[in-house]
Amino acid sequence: MQQLWLIPLLPLAGFALNGLFGRRFSKTVINAIAVGSVLLAFLWVLKSLNSLGAFSGGGLEVPHVEHYFTWIQSGVLNISVDFAVDRLTAVMLLIVTGIGTLIHIYAVGYMAHESGYYRFFAYLNLFMFFMLTLVLAQNFLLLFVGWEGVGLCSYLLIGFYFSEKFATDAGNKAFIVNRIGDFGFSLAIFLIAIHFGSLDFGSVFSQAKNLPIETSPGWITAIALLLLVGATGKSAQIPLYVWLPDAMAGPTPVSALIHAATMVTAGVYMVARSSSIFLHSPMALEIVTIIGIATAFFAATIGLVQNDIKKVFAYSTVSQLGYMFVGLGTGAFSAGIFHVMTHAFFKALLFLGAGSVIHALSGEQDLRQMGGLARKIPITCVVLLCASLAIAGVPGTSGYFSKDLILESAYQYAPWIYWVGVLTAGMTAFYVFRAFFMAFTGEYRGNKHPHESPFVMWGPLAVLAALSLGGGFINIPKYLEPMFPLSEGTLPGFVALTPAVFGFAGIGLAYILYVLAPGLPESIANAFRPVYTLLYNKYFVDEAYDSAVVNPTIDGSRSLLWRTIDAGAIDGTVNGVGKTARSIGGVLRHLQSGYIRSYAGWVVAGAILVVIVMGLKGVM
């Protein structure tokens, strides 16, 4: 036993302490509890993994399972609370607790002037608890508990500034859109329970391995596709990605931790975890790939024209998650997880850097109000440059390695997916550097007084910058090889080269358009006005969803459910019963004359009636 339960329980304790008593604690105590609990969890992860031999050659090839207690027993179905660590979990644990610790430290500086300080850290710790439960869970139901829990925390933290309408709306949107995905996920869990008679990963996956591969869609495909529905909700894929850009209404550390580095990759983790199911359904894998590449491409095109710095990075997150799904769908599960890790590094850094910019400008998020910040906040500028290089896939940086592996796998699967992916890589480099140049070069266009962030903020940024640049040398695919075999075969030389070329082209184009010729983007936008409008308004997807789903639902609820069924039928029945009783009573009350002798008269009359009836019909 490695006492794995301590890992999630530590942040839970932090949540309990801060949540219950935080109002009375000083900020120092809140910081110590919030950051300390996550740091301890990180250290405990390191200690557990070390004693399990995870850092040496052959360790953890067999999952280490810890059984705690039986949770639900019903017929053949036996669900227990088990935690397990294998190599996949080890990677996820290190990402979640490592990045989580850094972001907690950063948040101490970022949130220093905000109200609701203890509430923020309590929610953040609660999120860590659920995320770690999700990652450590050894059966689908426990994973689902974590899955729902992180959704709850996401909702709470998006709506953190609950006095703002847009923040609560964004929280509701995230929650409701995720319900659709979670509905699919729960159906998948039911199907798994029916067909495998168990929800335990060990049992389900060992049974799945012995099943034949489904050439025509059957129940394995159904399970895989329903799992995918869940993943598209949580990991913001088409068609359920719409909540993620709005989720940026939350505080920036939340965007970094939940909506970039950890929670949104839960879908990727879940699909990779269920790889033995997906591998038995080529059709499901194909759909995963197509959804992934479509998401990557369309989100990238939207990102090209956004002016809110967080929105740019949000669409870039959606796009990068699309890459991860391409990796999963083309069978390169380890490349997908590798990209989860590198993306966690550079995207957390992008968001935290953006947060540092926003902090420096006292809340300004519009790129058009920035410019020339390189001299004013140099540290932020340097770390953001590192992150931008990594996401653009410049050779040697972490993003290059993982994206390259995914694209290689895509090339083996189908070359057209590879080429769309390469084009997306070019666009990614372009819009990230567009944001970078708009913020840091040229003249300052705003009217605030930028100041560099304190050490408590740029310290974590520096660590993440180092990881963004060097994280690609952590060979995750090799480490995960016992679980996800690497594909064999050699590829043409250009396959590895082209994404980098497109990346540089994107950076160069951004440099030309936003540094050398700042007037050019405006005239290009004017020349392609319809395309620009379409992209700027995000393909009108929100509007389409509004008119196709949201408004009919609201109108239907209002006219049919409320006015007709509730007010008409249900209230009508209840009130009708009351009214009838009242009118009958209105007639009968005249009998209640108050004169005893009239009552007695009725009794006598009744008795006589009984006697007459008995006389006529004969006594029994």
Binding site: R589, H590, Q592, S593, G594, Y595, R597, A600, G601
Partner: protein, 108 residues
């Protein structure tokens, strides 16, 4: 045990007719008298009329049930008399009247 029989000179129906007359008198008194005490006495009359028919049938069918019932009725009548007189006293105290039609505040 020698058989006990009703005196042959008085047939069963007479007892029952007497009982019916007494009961009807009670009903009539209850319905048409206004004084609470008279009404009360009418109730006692009805009870005793019923007692009479109980005892009659008890004799006729050689069953002891009728006797037991009439004892029960007496016990209840005694209790009722105690409660009823207390109520009548309270009514008089509060309203200074024994007119039964004056006591009609439960109307409607």
């Amino acid at each position: 045990m020698p058989e006990i029989s009703l005196p042959q000179s008085v047939p069963l129906t007479w007892y029952l007719i007497l009982s019916a007359i007494l009961f009807t008198l009670g009903v009539a008194g209850f319905l048409f008298r206004r004084n609470v005490i008279t009404v009360f006495m009418s109730i006692e009359l009805m009870l005793n009329a019923v007692n009479l028919s109980f005892v009659t049938f008890s004799y006729k069918y050689k069953q002891v049930d009728g006797h037991i019932f009439s004892f029960f009725v007496m016990v209840v009548a005694a209790a009722e008399a105690a409660v009823g007189l207390a109520i009548i006293l309270t009514i008089f105290k509060n309203r200074q009247t024994l007119e039964i039609d004056e006591v009609s505040s439960l109307k409607n």
